[in-house]
């Protein structure tokens, strides 16, 4: 009988990956087994197939043994499929004459019994060998990249990414949910460890964003819909009405003074509700844009319609205030997206025994950031809610971090910002300060030195997680104070320390709306809820969706230097795509065998991308391979088997199935 794959000459390469694979899979046996399989003319095992010599091995063998199919058994295709395909290409073979077998992530690392792991690896190799025989030469398609970029989130990450791209001459749409950009950093007073003032380094960048010709800034706005794919995304942006026209407003802020509310009555979100604002307000003096917002929830005109509208009078003939403003919808086209949506801080009330919300003198770190801030609710004076100056302050580390009952992860910044706040509060009040920590984590440039500085400033560091913040008194000295109860694990006994003020170093957690954003952009979240990067080490700002990049704390807790670095990296990744001008697409698209198609149109309803059209003349379906993403749903649905998918042909998958079951 004649072999349909007569001319097929397969080379199989088994990778040891050092001992990562070799320790659990008998690579020698595997290679010998592979050699016995039909059409395999050569089977080797090698320490590191992904290394240059490893790839050279393949290239050389293609020439010397005129191999025309290659199977590599090593790690996950998500890691090195591209590497080896390139090797084939260089070796003069079509890169799709290749199939990769994952015997590391899905065999050696997850099994303990060597015999079993090896048997499984053999089945998988057998499957690959059978499959690869069916492979056809394929060419990658090309899609042009739209040069514009959408940056979502106007914190320091979004700002830095937007400016980098804009400076490189790309047009950026910067979309921010709040009425101003600046994010969390704008709330900080100083930044660790250098103690340079946050505003002084942030506000110049904020106004640069405002004035940059290449940046379209939409604050108070949200992305509500995203379609398309790398190079060609279509996004819908909803712009909430701020009832004051950004183009007409001169930022004189006279409307604020004019408001019928003479006293501010509404809790001020920007100041963590430690102060009050008016219904018409500007979040903070350096806000960008310098345009007030009217909050319809509290504005008399919106609630009763019976306001003198003194704000409109004050605005005069500028007519910037329009109380009838409607939400606006913007449709934009971009080639790439950078997500910089940031984080939220842990809700301290979730840990009842720390007394947040119960005792007025228990604060969160972010609240204290505002207290020490010169433009904060107290003008930079650290005073308690009752106006007293605290003489003793406790800073409780790891609130909502490293705790199986709340969040398991270390939030990375708390140790350092606690040190910073300790320094600042001591500076402002001369108070005695106690830090309660589990472990001090200061792994950054100048961090350890800063820790040392605080030790010398005679700030107390007590190694012990606080067990309770309470008001029950045991000792006369504790009357009217908050008492911290914790074990001083180094001194070796339990201590009760009365303090005037407690600062809870709350951790960082994913934003509540992270799941929606994730769905919107079709990316994944890691188990703790932060956006998942493509590879923790080698692709830290990429996602599994091409053309969508991550910057800042939406990917995981990090400090400002790391955030800015990552934002720069994300911008560079976007630039690399844009300047290439096009992306190559995988050739795993669907196509219709017109001879077989019966014109039942089943496939058409299957396609979410409207890539399949019906050609009435010939009464058959046709796939637009540019629009096709290669999911293969239509292929599986086609009753007559007329729709087929490159790289996932039925024959290929059948062969694979028979392969894995070959020794069943």
């Amino acid at each position: 009988m004649s072999d349909p794959h007569g001319a097929v000459r397969i080379g199989v390469y088994t990778c040891h990956c050092g001992s990562n694979i070799a320790a659990t899979v008998d690579v020698k046996a595997l290679a010998q087994f592979a050699a016995t399989l039909p059409r395999v003319v050569l089977s080797r095992d090698y320490k590191y197939m992904c290394s240059d010599p490893g790839q050279e091995l393949i290239r050389q063998d293609i020439r010397d043994h005129d191999l025309n199919r290659i199977v590599v058994a090593s790690c996950s295709p998500h890691l090195h499929e591209h590497t080896f395909r390139t090797a084939l290409k260089v070796g003069g073979l079509n890169p799709y004459y290749f199939h990769m077998v994952n015997i590391r992530e899905q065999a050696s690392w997850v099994h303990v019994d060597k015999a079993q792991a090896t048997r499984k690896a053999q089945d998988l190799v057998c499957a690959a060998v059978r499959r690869v025989a069916f492979h056809q030469p394929l060419e990658r398609g090309r899609v042009a990249i739209h040069p514009d970029v959408l940056v979502l989130g106007g914190g320091i990450a979004g700002i830095h990414a937007a400016l980098t791209l804009a400076n490189a001459g790309k047009h950026v749409f910067l979309v921010e949910k709040e009425p101003t950009i600046g994010g969390h950093m704008a709330k900080f007073d100083k930044t660790f460890p250098t103690l340079d003032c946050a505003a002084c380094i942030l506000t110049p960048k904020m106004s640069a964003v405002r004035s940059h010709p290449n940046i379209t800034l939409w604050t108070y706005s949200e992305v509500t819909r995203v379609d398309g794919y790398v190079g060609n995304y279509k996004a819908t942006v909803l712009r909430h009405p701020r009832y004051i026209d950004e183009d007409l407003c001169a930022g004189c802020l006279e409307c604020l003074d004019a408001c019928v509310y003479k006293q501010a009555k509404v809790p001020d979100e920007f100041n963590m509700r430690l102060s009050k604002r008016k219904p018409i307000y500007i979040p903070f003096p350096q806000a960008v844009p310098q345009v007030p917002v009217i909050d319809p929830e509290t504005c008399i005109q919106f609630k009763s319609g019976k306001c003198k509208k003194t704000c409109i009078e004050a605005c005069g003939d500028r007519h910037a205030i329009n109380l009838r403003a409607e939400p606006e919808i913007e449709e934009i086209e971009v080639g790439t997206v950078i997500l910089a949506t940031g984080f939220q801080t842990f809700d301290a009330a979730r840990i009842p025994y720390y007394g947040y919300g119960k005792y007025p003198n228990v604060y969160t770190a972010l609240e204290v950031e505002r207290l020490v801030n010169a433009s904060g609710p107290t003008g930079g004076e650290v005073i308690l809610r009752d106006g007293r100056k605290p003489q003793t302050v406790a800073i409780v580390h790891c609130v909502g971090s490293r705790d199986e009952n709340t969040h398991r992860w270390c939030s990375r910044v708390c140790c350092m910002y606690s040190l910073k706040l300790a320094h600042l509060v001591k500076e402002h009040t001369g108070a005695e300060i106690f830090n309660f920590y589990i472990d001090m984590r200061t792994p950054g440039k100048g961090f350890e030195e800063f820790y040392q500085k605080l030790l010398n400033e005679r700030v107390h560091f007590i190694r012990g997680r606080v067990a309770e913040v309470t008001d029950w008194e045991l000792d006369p000295g504790e009357e009217g104070k908050l008492v911290i109860r914790a074990e001083d694990t180094l001194a070796g006994f339990v201590r009760r320390i009365p303090v005037d003020m407690v600062v809870l170093a709350t951790g960082l957690e994913p934003r509540a709306d992270a799941p929606e954003v994730r769905r919107l952009f079709n990316i994944s979240c890691a188990s703790e809820g932060f956006f998942l990067e493509r590879h923790p080490k080698l692709a830290p700002v990429n996602t599994f969706t091409d053309g969508i990049f991550l910057a800042g704390c939406c990917q995981g807790p990090k400090d400002i230097p790391d955030t800015v670095a990552q934002a720069g990296a994300a911008a560079a990744e976007a630039l690399a795509l844009i300047d290439a001008g096009y992306v190559e697409t995988e050739p795993n698209t669907a196509h219709v065998e017109e001879a077989v198609c019966c014109g039942c149109k089943t496939c058409i309803s299957m396609c979410p991308y409207r890539a399949i059209s019906f050609v009435n003349e010939i009464h058959k379906s046709r796939v637009n391979e540019v629009l096709c993403k290669g999911c293969g749903t239509c292929v599986a649905a086609c009753p007559s088997g007329a729709v087929r998918q490159h790289l996932f042909e039925d024959d290929e998958i059948f062969a694979e199935i028979e392969g894995v079951l070959s020794n069943a």
Binding site: R402, R465, A467
Partner: protein
């Protein structure tokens, strides 16, 4: 002067592993040594080792130090440590496990009333199916330190006159159906 040096041969790693496999003692090795348990414990201030240190002793395998400690007997099993622990370790159940082992190997501190009470209670319930506070306290006192009875007179009288002290001990009718007293098990 007592030697404050520990040789590695004194550490029984195998024992530590076994303890960590007992029901309720899981997660022993995930302890952060953060001390939350000691801080949350209402009795840690009376203990010779704080709960945190007991965990440290156990997982490093210092068996006798852990089993001879007063700590395990001062634990009132209020479970405060368990609900505070950031690693969700059931420290209370670790204490129970150590108590059982200490009893079995007679390693508890001499004339220390807690283990005595526990044993008396165990016998009484084994025999009668129910416990009677009066007889329990009496036996306990007699076996540990009879003098305490004098101190208890006032309280005792209060209870008698308010009809809260029952001299006739309660008992289960169907004694046969009680679980046979099994030799303390699970202590390897």
């Amino acid at each position: 002067m007592q030697r404050e040096l520990k040789f590695q041969r004194e550490a029984d790693a195998e024992w530590a592993r076994r303890v960590s496999q007992r029901p309720g003692c899981e997660g022993l090795f995930s302890c952060l040594q953060c001390g939350t348990c000691s801080g949350a414990c209402p009795l840690s201030i009376y203990m010779d080792f704080t709960p945190r240190r007991i965990i440290a002793l156990v997982r490093e395998g210092f068996r006798t130090d852990a089993l001879r400690s007063k700590t395990i007997w001062l634990c009132a099993s209020c479970y405060s440590c368990a609900v505070h622990c950031p690693r969700q370790i059931h420290i209370t159940d670790v204490m129970y496990s150590l108590k059982r082992e200490a009893i079995q190997h007679r390693l508890y501190p001499a004339r220390f009333p807690v283990p005595v009470l526990a044993q008396e209670f165990y016998r009484m319930v084994g025999r009668r199916g129910r416990s009677s506070e009066f007889w329990l306290v009496l036996r306990m006192a007699l076996r540990s330190n009879p003098l305490v009875l004098l101190g208890m007179f006032r309280t005792g009288w209060d209870l008698v006159r308010t009809g809260r002290l029952k001299l006739r001990g309660e008992r289960v009718r169907d004694i046969a159906s009680l679980p046979r007293e099994l030799a303390p098990r699970e202590v390897a």
